[in-house]
Amino acid sequence: MSEKNIFDEMWGSDDVLRSPYSEFQSWFQGEDLKRLRAKQREAEEVFRLAGITFNVYGRAEAEERLIPFDIIPRIIAGREWQRLCKGIEQRVRAINAFLHDIYNRQEIIKAGRVPQEMIAKNEAFLPQMIGMTPPGGVYTHIVGIDLVRTGPDQFYVLEDNARTPSGVSYMLENRETMLQMFPELFSRNRVQPVQNYPTNLRRSLAACAPPACEGTPTVAVLTPGIYNSAYYEHAFLADQMGVELVEGHDLRVVNGRVAMRTTHGYKPIDVLYRRIDDDFLDPLNFNPESALGVPGIMDVYRAGGITIANAPGTGIADDKAIYSYMPDIVEFYTGEKAILENVPTWRCSEPDSLAYVLDNLSELVVKEVHGSGGYGMLIGPTSSKKEIEEFRKKLTARPGNYIAQPTLALSTVPIFTKTGLAPRHVDLRPFVLCSPEGINITPGGLTRVALEKGSLVVNSSQGGGTKDTWVLED
């Protein structure tokens, strides 16, 4: 079943069924392909009716699209997961410590472990956050760590998402759909639940209430509105947490607090889980054109009147240029070697690295430092000569704008196709919650899968799909 040299999570590298999949395999063998095809269509209908859609930017007519969902679960053994958790927790602690340091004493720069210009010249660094410690000392209340796998024990962190990671609603809805469609599979496997995520999120946010909060903290989710690509998720999370979903025009600063306009007048908010970018948060302090944010919210924030989650300025920790320093950052703040490895990264800003990258473009993946969503990147091995030469020009013109990494042999997991199972490349985004009470990692996460044979691009904006991700009780 597996391709040569590629680790398949069901069949390994040598076509021997791996143990997490044993119950699944015996179930699958007894299944009729026709029934499964019907189930696959049924799943699509469930998603469409529930309105689990995303908007594609720049396409007026295509309006709302479904992210393709594949009915074959990705299965991870409990012990594999435990190891990952240790690495994730270590990394998230380091990210928070790094952010606090960068916006306060900057010890890591003084120690020469991260160059000054990486910070000072970085657009993600917010001078407005200097000298400020957020309530509870938490910067990244919600983190998504993107992982890829290349072997039974080999995981790499592909990127850290410390701003406003999305996709958690898919983790929850995928599970909900699987439970409805294949209850028998859950009777045969002991799958760790993910359904507590919204409750944990609310508790975690409430635990970071600001000094001005009196009584039970009022939490709200801030969305750019119904035309945003992730609106479904914003509404879903607010609904599941039982809190208000607000837009900028519902909010204003009243008596030193950020308050929402209710049918009974303005009511203060203690913790705002914002799903808009830093730049749009406050037209008085950042982008003056922003109509999505709240004028003056940063002043209230600095005075302890509200908690903003994640804190403004966390982007400095998940920037692709900073990424290459993460092993140092982890070691600097935790005193331990990083448990999870980084993908080896060449910083094209450095002449030696640039020379190497230019010589080996056809074998590397080159990414924009500030890019996301799989746009503006070069995947050497699957690109034409012409594409590579065009990219070479861009890279030479602005080397500091790029990093390069080897093309990893990403693991595959089977998806369901018309003719049965077929391996496709995947990544994994586990979701992490931070509060003064501790770090909470939901067992599972979002598995993104490249639906095209051989493709390594898993982004939903580029035709990727999702899968339910199971962590088994050992």
């Binding site: 469409r48 009716l49 529930a50 309105g51 119904i226 609106y231 509404a235 879903f236 607010a238 609904d239 208000e244 979903l245 607000v246 837009e247 025009h249 519902d250 929402m260 306009r261 209710t262 049918t263 009974h264 007048g265």
Partner: protein, 313 residues
């Protein structure tokens, strides 16, 4: 509750109700047209007037034809009151207030939107019209059923009910406004078959033929129709019924305030001064003036609700 949420709930319900009203008027027009041999398409101008979409239609068309009228009322994007436009608006509002709705209600609205959008993707041929109208009726009924069966009876529910009944009262009043002359006492004696057609149109427009028969038997006369549509307490589309519901829901909402909001007082006035009469008083007041006054009060009440509950900044 957020002012924006109250706004979304109220308008979601108004748009749903409007979609139903418009499709019912299409059904009426179609039915009357089929049973009046040798007549032209005049009825459609009157039908569109009842749906308050005639002026818009005339901006886009030179003459009134049945096909164009049906298309205008069902699926024209340029017509903000077409079934397709109103269902889309209802669903957009529902998305905005998704957190205030139960899963069942949201799925019913989203499903309604998907089915109606699909059914109205192309021009509806005459042979498909009954099925399409039936689909709209069923899908909107499903939303109502889900709302009734799964929503908590709290302020969320009160705002949806207020929107529903305000829209419905408005629709009934407009139908009466267009057709009032066939209900005047001077027309009582005429009793020609033409009048019967008009009366039937009115009753069909508010889904009241069966109800009327149940209440008054098979003898149709204008006075009873006026009484039934304006003052009857059992008829769910009568002005009295709707006004009373509006007032009840605004009273529940207002109970949380130290001083009742202005809109509660206005709905009280509407019920007390205009609904507690017998139909002869209404005729004495002047049927047309009466309906015009009620329409104007409904308009002002709508504006006051938006203010009282902070729908906008």
């Amino acid at each position: 509750m957020l002012g924006k949420t109250a706004n979304g709930l109220y308008w979601m319900s108004r748009y749903l109700e409007r979609a139903e009203n418009t499709s019912r008027l299409v059904e009426t027009g179609q039915r009357i047209g089929l049973t009046r041999l040798g007549q032209d398409d005049d009825e459609w101008a009157s039908v569109m007037q009842s749906a308050s979409v005639l002026a818009g239609y005339q901006e886009h068309h030179d003459e009134v034809t049945k096909d164009a009228a049906i298309n205008w009322m069902l699926r024209e994007k340029a017509n903000p009151a077409s079934v397709l436009s109103t269902i889309s608006e209802a669903r957009q509002n529902a998305r905005m207030v998704r957190t205030a709705l139960t899963h069942e209600v949201w799925e019913a609205i989203n499903g309604c939107y998907m089915a109606v959008k699909d059914a109205l993707a192309r021009k509806v041929s005459e042979r498909d019209l009954p099925a399409v109208l039936g689909l709209i009726r069923q899908r909107t009924a499903l939303v109502r059923g889900a709302t009734h069966g799964t929503m908590l009876r709290n302020e969320i529910y009160d705002f949806t009910r207020t929107g529903t009944f305000l829209e419905r009262a408005d629709a009934t009043a407009r139908i009466l406004d267009v057709k009032y002359y066939v209900l005047l006492p001077s027309a009582f004696a005429v009793g020609s078959s033409i009048d019967n057609v008009h009366w039937e149109t009115i009753l069909r427009s508010v889904s009241a033929r069966g109800g009327f028969r149940m209440a008054y038997g098979s003898q149709v006369n204008a006075r009873d129709i006026a009484q039934f549509l304006i003052l009857d307490k059992r008829m769910p589309r009568s002005l009295n019924f709707c006004a009373t519901k509006i007032h009840n829901n605004l009273s529940y909402l207002g109970a949380d305030y130290d001083t009742p909001p202005q809109s509660s007082l206005m709905s009280k006035t509407l019920v007390e001064r205009f609904m507690n009469h017998n139909i002869d008083d209404v005729f004495e007041y002047g049927l047309h003036e009466y309906i015009q006054t009620v329409l104007s009060m409904l308009g002002k009440l709508g504006q006051q609700i938006e203010k009282d509950y902070r729908f906008y900044e």
